[in-house]
Each structure stands twice: as structure tokens, then as C-alpha cells.
Symmetry: C2
Subunit: 356 residues, 2 copies
């Protein structure tokens, strides 16, 4: 899978926002210069900066055809929101048909593969247009066999209190900082957005359940080639009622030497269940650390070596307080690596690398 | 899915044995009168009783054509072993082709769907022969939403120290005993063998990883209809390096009110990893209980209410000792429900039912 230098129109219709459009937001953070517009009929007329607090003057548009004509014109459409369950809303099909007819690639991370759509798939084939379904698993995945424990590189897995707290972003920031300091470091993408950014990886939440850990193992072996440090993107949370199985498979399959615990400082409950009364309360840092270390222990013991906070929705002094509180409660280095310096975590990873 | 009264030839080639042919053995235990023969070239000439210690005079044969001609003749071929990874060995295809040409149904629980085989699928269609791929997931599974916690029935999940320790058998025995005592009780099949036996269910290890818990939830809702007690078949183990994700998804999705911990009394290490040096040591009963109760706690707190032992490979007095030891170490009722009386566990379940 390569990452050609496309210019994207991002579809985030009705859901573009700091917490609701994770895929869109990450792509905007990592390659803003390649986004021509975001489609969201609810917020048309604003800029991405208005909506997210970053991203600059990229326009939010309410009309698909106008969207793909922005700037130098889009060369690909990227589906930037992941509805609960990941299925392709019917009304988007007309947009995607238009895009394919205009020879734009389709990049999707949905569970429903756009390429398998009985209309869009054949249409794309007939027009010679690529549909990139980032969640389509590779064939012949293995059952995990513990080989990830044997790599020479230090393997660091990001784990979280919940989905969508910044696990991928944290690892990408840390990768950049480690590379800057001269360490051969890979980022291993385990979800569709990471695959969009890096150009390779496996969406572990989309593999057949028996092969979650096997997929993680295969990714670590690939990421360890010619690298001294492997940063594995985390998925879900061990306390998430819907996705915990993915998280545990990833933890056991990747056999990490160290964990980074990620949390959004203002979040008290698992976010996907606000439709019901708030359901799963996020426990203290100390308890979350205990949950992850205990779950890993029988298979491959590991330790949390630092805390990554997401403080995007706090003012500066509240954010600094949250970081100080996390460090004090856990005795571990803590920071928000997007907002503040990531040095304390980088030092912790380099320190862990020195001891294996 | 219905369970027609087929007569089966079971394929267990090279792997027929007490521990290696789980699907075959369970089918033999639950409907021996419908098995005409077992195909295993290594043990041809023996009886099933010789190999398993139960199953009577069912012959083990070394020739496929002879196998399907046994007794009144087979009407279906059942694939009775699950190779690591679940893939269809190439050499079996000739047998299956022969079977389809003779209008025998194919029942399979492999991850590789026999019906998707480019040769066997079309051949079966052309001959009007059904291929039952028990692991094929139903379409449109939900993301788990906690609805399993809302059913009025008592939900009891079997959990284990490892794969293949008797979780399904335990629940089937308990179901029969509870029904005999007049309790409306369902057995919810979560794996291919249970589906073969019951005629319905979902193989949760074969669904897309994001939907493990959702599949479990859907099964509990279905099992709770017109029943007061729902016994959910367990899968894998929270300490199994390859399959732990399936186990946690099932635990969180089914929202059980009570757990039954299953263990093979002589097993010290997770069984699938004997190719390497023994890897994951099975901890004490008390620790296993702690692992399951802690993992469930943030989503839906629950308690282990009894211990089910598999003592098939011990003599009578050692088995009684093992049961007594499990009861003493945990303070919980314990038995081997296949070998001994299941009353202590049935009483525990009825007691739990009375308190919800």
C-alpha cells in the first residue's frame, strides 16, 4: 500500500467536530496541506480552524461538487467519520458515484468495504479508479505464537482509558521526537487512520476475532525490521464494553516491553454509551495501570512507563494541573505531547530501551 | 438453521484423540447414534471407544469411501477437527468432492468456508447439496450496547483456564440437569460444535473483531426469550495468547450474572503452545477467579459461583481429590459434571437465579 500525494476532500457530514470525526481530524493534523475541503452540511461556511481549533483556512463546504472543486481540485475522497458500527450510509453513495465518475480515488476505513458495494465496486473497476478499503484484512493471518516477544527492538504499546483519547496521535508525536533524537523508530498502524497516514498496517478491529493477536504479532515483526524502537498504535480500551476484545488481543499479540497509558483528562465515562445513562466509569490512573498490567501479566509481563494526556478541551493552567496530577498520582512521567513538550516520555522510552 | 437427522461420517484424519479432536468428540458424546464412522488413517481398525474411552463400537476407518458406506450409509460429512488457524487442508478436498458428488451434505466449522471454495462451492450448488459453514457470521451484527444486562433471565457464562477444558460440555450437562428440575433453560452456542449440536448460535471467534461483544449480546437476547436461565458457552481463556480477545469480548458482551470456572485438573500450561517451551502457566483457582472477576468488573460486575473440572484423564480417587481441592481452595461448589453428579452446581445456579 503506497501513499500517493493525493489532494483530499474529506467527508464528515453532520459529524465534523473535535470528538466526533477522529479519522478526519487526524488526517488534517498530519497532512493539512493535502486537504482541499471538508464536507459537512451542518457547518458549511466555517473553516476547519473554526471547528477544530487547528487546521487553518481549509473550508468546510455543504455541497459535494463544490467541495471537490476547491483549490486545485481534489484527486481523492476520504471518508473521515466512523459511524458506530462502521457501516456506509446510503445517502453517501451518490457522492461516491460522482467521485468515481470524475476519476477520484475513494479512501475508506469503514467496516463495510466500499469496493464490495454492488454498484460502486464495478463502477470503479470499469473506470480504472482505485478504492482503498483500509480496513480490509490481509489474507492468511496467523494465530499468535509469541514471536513478537522475540524481536530485539523495544516494543511500546499505547493503551487507553477509552477509545478516541489520543493513542495514535501520542505515538506519532513520540515517533517524530525519537527519530529527531536519532533513534530508529517505527510507528505501527493498527487502525484505518494510522494506515492512511503511514501507508501500511492492519486494522486489527476488522480481522476475524481469532486472528486479532496474530495480526498484532505480524505487525510487530514487520515494524521491528531495521528499527530499535517499535511504537504500536493502541485500539479501544480494556474497559470498553464493545471493543475490549480488540484491545486485549492487541495487548497479548504485540507482547510489548512497555506501555504508555493515554487518557483524555476531562473524561469520566466511556464515551460511546452516552445514549444510555453514563455506563462505564473510568477508574483512577492507578487502577487503569493495574488493569493493563494484570491483563498482560500471564502472557508477557509489562509495565506502564508514562502517561499521555489529551487536554485539548482545557485551558493552559488546567492542562498543566492535569499533567501534574497524573504524574503525582502515578509516580510516572506525564505530558500532553501535542500541547506541551514530549521529552519526559521520550526519555522514559529511551531509558526502557537501554534496559532490554 | 435446522438440525436434520443426518447420519455422519466424521473427518478427524491424523488427529482423532481425547484432546485433539474436540468437535468430533463433542458430536460423538451428544449424538453417537448418528455417527456411522470416524475417518483417521492413523487409527483405522480401532473403535471410537478404544480411542476416546467412550462412543462404543463406532468404527474408525482409513478409507473415505468405506467410511461413508458404513452402517446404513452416511448422509453428511462432518469435519471434526480444527487445525490451528482453522484452514482447510488441501488433501481433504478430494474427499469432500466425492461426498458432494454422492449428495452428502458437508458440515464444517473451519474458518475457511467450504462453501467459498472455488471448486466445492459451485459443485455443491450444481448438485443441490447444502454446505453448512457453522462459523459463517450472520450479517449486520451490532456493536454491543449493554442490552444483555437488561434481560430478566439469569445469564451464566462458562469461562476457562484454557481452550478445550470442557466449557461447552459443562454447560450442556448443566442445561439438561436444570431442565430436568423444571427450569426453563437455554444453552447458547458460541462455537461451531455447539451450533452443530443445538442447531443455532454464532461462532464468536469468527466474527469481525469489533463485533465479538455485539454477537454475544445478540445471542443472550435470543437465548433469554421464554427462558429463566441462559447458559452461555464459553470460548478460549483470558490468559490464552492467541484467543484472549474473543474471551473478553464474550465476557463483556454477554453481561453474565454469574460465571462457572472450567479447568482440566491435570493441565498446568496453556495447551496450544507446547511446540515452543511451555509458555503460559495456568495460575491457581483463586487467581483465575480474580482475573475473570476483575476483567468483568468495570463493565458488569459478576462472580464465579462454581468450579467445573474435567477429570477424564485421572483415576476415580485422583478425580475426587481434585474436586475436593478445588472446592477447598475456592470455597465454591465444584464437580466434574460429566463423571460425577452435577447437583452442587445446579443448586448454585438455582440459588443465583433466586437472588436476581
Amino acid at each position: 500500500m503506497t501513499t500517493p500525494q493525493h489532494r483530499f476532500l474529506i467527508i464528515a457530514d453532520g459529524e465534523f467536530g473535535p470528538l466526533t470525526s477522529k479519522t478526519a481530524n487526524s488526517c488534517i493534523r498530519y497532512f493539512p496541506e493535502r486537504i482541499v475541503a471538508v464536507l459537512d452540511r451542518k457547518q458549511a461556511g466555517k473553516t476547519v480552524q473554526d471547528v477544530l481549533g487547528f487546521g487553518g483556512k481549509i473550508p468546510v463546504v455543504g455541497d459535494f461538487e463544490r467541495g471537490i472543486a476547491q483549490g486545485k481540485g481534489a484527486t481523492a475522497v476520504l471518508i473521515g467519520i466512523a459511524p458506530l458500527g462502521g457501516r456506509l450510509p446510503d445517502e453517501w453513495k451518490a457522492w461516491l458515484r460522482t467521485a468515481i465518475e470524475q476519476k477520484l480515488e475513494i479512501w475508506s476505513g469503514l467496516h463495510t468495504f466500499v469496493g464490495d458495494d454492488p454498484e460502486l465496486g464495478p463502477l470503479a473497476k470499469a473506470r480504472g479508479v482505485r478504492i482503498l478499503d483500509a480496513r480490509r484484512p490481509p489474507p492468511n493471518l496467523p494465530i499468535a505464537d509469541g514471536r513478537a516477544a522475540d524481536v530485539d527492538a523495544l516494543v511500546v504499546l499505547a493503551v487507553g482509558s477509552d477509545c478516541n483519547v489520543g493513542k495514535m496521535t501520542a505515538q506519532l508525536q513520540l515517533r517524530d521526537a525519537l527519530v529527531k533524537r536519532g533513534h530508529r523508530t517505527s510507528f505501527v498502524a493498527t487502525g484505518q487512520t494510522g494506515i492512511f497516514i503511514e501507508g501500511w498496517g492492519i486494522a486489527v478491529d476488522a480481522v476475524v476475532a481469532d486472528f486479532i493477536a496474530g495480526a498484532a504479532e505480524q505487525l510487530v515483526l514487520q515494524g521491528a525490521k531495521d528499527n530499535d524502537i517499535v511504537l504500536v498504535e493502541g485500539q479501544g480500551s480494556l474497559i470498553h464494553p464493545g471493543y475490549s476484545g480488540v484491545t486485549l488481543g492487541l495487548l497479548h499479540g504485540s507482547c510489548p516491553d512497555a506501555l504508555i497509558l493515554c487518557h483524555q483528562a476531562t473524561r469520566d465515562y466511556i464515551g460511546d454509551y452516552h445514549g444510555r445513562e453514563p455506563w462505564v466509569k473510568i477508574p483512577s490512573y492507578v487502577e487503569m495501570i493495574e488493569i493493563y498490567e494484570s491483563a498482560a501479566q500471564p502472557v508477557h509481563p509489562t509495565k506502564v512507563i508514562g502517561i499521555c494526556l489529551n487536554t485539548y478541551d482545557m485551558d493552559e493552567s488546567a492542562a498543566r494541573e492535569a499533567v501534574a496530577k497524573a504524574a503525582e498520582e502515578t509516580g510516572l512521567p506525564a505530558t500532553d505531547p501535542v500541547r506541551f513538550d514530549s521529552d519526559v516520555l521520550v526519555d522514559a522510552i529511551i531509558g526502557a530501551r537501554a534496559t532490554i
